[in-house]
Amino acid sequence: METSTNQDPSSESGRDGFRSGSRLERVLREGNFAVTAELGPPQNADPEVIRKKAKVLRGVVDAVNITDNQTAIVRMSSIGAAVLALQEGLEPIAQMTCRDRNRLAMQSDMLGAYALGLRNLLCLTGDHQSFGNHPMAKNVHDLDSMQLIQMAVGLRDEHKFQCGDEIKGQEPRFFVGAAANPFGDPFEWRPLRLAKKVKAGANFIQTQLIYNTARFAEFMELVRKQGTHKEVYLLAGIGPLKSPGMAKYMRDEVPGLDVPNEFVDRMTAAAEGIDKEDKKGRNAAWRAEGIKIAIELVQQVRQIEGVSGVHLMAIEWEEAVRPIVEGAGLLPRPEPAPVPAAA
């Protein structure tokens, strides 16, 4: 029988209560209003795409979500793209969905991701493959997002694989995140599901896109009644609208989104008076209005108790992030103190 594990003392669990000591964790622990953004990997193997997007976001946000085959479309792997972003001086939040991998592959990817320097992990169920470009694929869903959170936390805090075997040596230590959709149905279930994810061990939450801030405030009221806001950092999801068409599409077609007509009208009005042939002019007017709305939304959600930050989802429009963060008065980003050295 072995008398001791060969555990690296520098990986001591929860030193000073830090889960992973990631920048995002430190920013939040210091009480800053955090800003994260989203970086979608390309549908090819070109690292330059990531590097270019990373440059646009560097210094503007505290961490960046690297999506995992989002909307079930094949893209560069989240972990691969995250490492490229890391090399460009961004802190990545690797996303991991339950759709494409079983528990073996997920744990193996967590070991690899940690070894490559990743420190944040967002645990998701994943969009159904019928939305993507391989609708004939077999989906996995060996675990659901709740169980994925439990597994990531178990690797970190119990030094155990999901099967119960001990991890001999360095365990992967992630600041573990999860998603919440305040606008999914049933409405009264959503705060309970959030609490369940926190119970599973989630350290931070990023929400689905919020346009209906009144309804989001109702959701947050329920969250506060449960006391969940004191147990987890909640980042409100905000995304700039690009055009009236996009606003309508999100209002009418995307399950789990609630876009009030007000924003469709504002986006439509933004290009009024601009000649229909002047596509460039109309686009610019729409985008300016989209950014303006996003800034207002950031400011509104910031007033809600229990909101620790914003998660900016400017899908394939990373250039919009800086003006939103700047417009909301959230620049420069804080430089959190490093994790104290081991005693």
């Binding site: 528990r103 969009d127 060996d142 999914g184 149905d185 049933p186 309970l192 599901r193 689905q208 789990g256």
Partner: protein
């Protein structure tokens, strides 16, 4: 019961190839009840094949028989002579029936006339819905008698995902969200606390993931077989 539907006619014709003597075998159990492969469907298909192959200029000799259950030896053994005389056997049983014929009559070429679809029930005349995924480890006691393995597109175990909207699943407006159904039923029964407990990772080894499954009941085995 097992729900199946008939393959497209052209695909069936393709499966028969050059064979001249065709034996269509219907089944009197599940596929009869779901109108896919019973006596009536076997008769219609046999007639259609005779007519179509005659029009094609290569008429086949198509006969049909229906057994009470294609998935038990005692019901299919009486087919031995008919099978021997046929060039090919077109089974209108479920996948189990097809394999039972192929296993019992190893010299025969057996092809399927149905696509076996799922374990389910008719929810209204002409509509069948899946209800069970035969995962081998039933959790219906925790989910208000509604199975999320069979009925949630992502087989979630801890409540509805963010794609549940107005009681519908994100994959399509025709699909009810299983977790909304579970939620509503448990709420009505004052048993919502069941949903607050985290369901741990499922043991899929009792499902197909554990390899082909087999149940042995020693109490039911015959002495001679046990001693084999």
């Amino acid at each position: 019961m097992i729900i199946a539907e008939q393959k497209p006619f052209e695909e069936i014709k393709g499966l028969l190839g050059e064979a001249e003597k065709v034996l269509v075998v219907g089944c009197g159990t599940c596929v009869t009840v779901c109108f896919a492969g019973g006596e009536k469907e076997a008769g219609i298909l046999a007639t259609s094949l005779r007519m179509a192959t005659r029009i094609d200029g290569q008429p086949k000799d198509v006969t049909h028989q229906t057994v009470q259950r294609q998935c038990e030896w005692e019901y299919i053994d009486p087919l031995a002579e008919s099978v021997r005389q046929a060039d090919i056997v077109l089974s209108l049983g479920c996948g189990i029936g097809v394999q039972a014929l192929a296993e019992r009559f190893p010299e025969a070429i057996v092809v399927p006339g149905l696509n076996t679809s799922f374990l389910g029930l008719p929810t209204e005349q002409g509509v069948w819905e899946e209800r069970c995924a035969a995962c081998g480890s039933c959790i219906l006691g925790l989910t208000g008698g509604i199975c999320p393995i069979a009925r949630c597109a992502k087989q979630l175990l801890n409540g509805p995902c963010g794609g549940s909207q107005d009681g519908r699943c994100e994959i399509g407006h025709d699909t009810p969200c299983a977790w909304q159904l579970i939620y509503d039923r448990l709420k009505a029964q004052n048993r919502l606390h069941l949903l607050l407990e985290i369901q741990p990772a499922k043991n899929w080894s009792t499902s197909r993931d554990g390899g082909p499954r087999r149940i042995t009941r020693e109490d039911l085995r015959l002495a001679a077989e046990v001693s084999e």
